[in-house]
Symmetry: C2
Subunit: 150 residues, 2 copies
Amino acid sequence: MKIEELLKTKDKMPESRRLVLNLIVTANHISELLAEALKPFGISNQQFNVLRILRGQKGKPANLSTIQERMVSKMSNTTRLVDKLADKELCERIVCPSNRRKVEIRITKKGLELLKKIDPVIDKLENDFAKKINEKEILSLNTNLNELRS
Amino acid sequence: MKIEELLKTKDKMPESRRLVLNLIVTANHISELLAEALKPFGISNQQFNVLRILRGQKGKPANLSTIQERMVSKMSNTTRLVDKLADKELCERIVCPSNRRKVEIRITKKGLELLKKIDPVIDKLENDFAKKINEKEILSLNTNLNELRS
DNA sequence: CCATTATATTTGTACCTACAATTGTTGTAT
DNA sequence: ATACAACAATTGTAGGTACAAATATAATGG
């Protein structure tokens, strides 16, 4: 659906504005789909993101600032987000022995098992989402999006 | 910058996932730029969005549900958002005389004047953002984004 | 060794947001 | 006319988030 219809605005707008609105609306849309898919598993988009970051460490622990710089949506309060995951026993945190300012955060077995269950659901969702445009379009979209951030 | 570098992940991912992440990251990016630009004027992205919706009414009042369905990022709590705007005297709300369940919300003179000051700033921002890719690319991006929501 | 600065995380606080329940009003069927 | 459903907005509440200040530890320079 065209963005003008979606936002029910009559006055037509410059392409640059349409681009900005389109981007935000589409990102909201996919974020909502993701949140909905994750809901049955009891975790939020952000928490899922952190869990995947932790898994990506492949056993090596991560500290808070590492997690923060890798998050898709940066947030000011990673401490409390990790707290939530630790409460659910999806990750564990211990004070780093070599540098007691840092904490070492690891995904737990329970966390890995949860991700294993979630993976196919998210894969399918991402696939279904992307396949509305063809492969070549996906590639050029990705390139253009990179450009827009530079 | 490529999304993998940005999120500092080593393992390469399918294009569909790259698309999803790219979208969210890029939308976050432009939202932050907008928020920063609006900060000096003392309003948030959402409040700015509502003000523009109200201006788009061209004198005709809007009610809450109208505003809600036109917002770029839908939210559950438009009442309190409009409260904030009313506190700042940027809009006014009166109970609709013909249907006392509804409220009629109008942008005030002060609101219009504020928008007039903000307009060129946002126009420039949107332009600078979009011009990183060429016109043809903007058009195809907009088309593809529409498709992704269908 | 001590004071200062830098680093890493945590906490306090105020605000924002989602969701559900509530209120007030209108429309409709009996 | 009255009860009931539908509608529009508001409010309570719990949880999320940003920002700044505080805490704790480590590194550095005199």
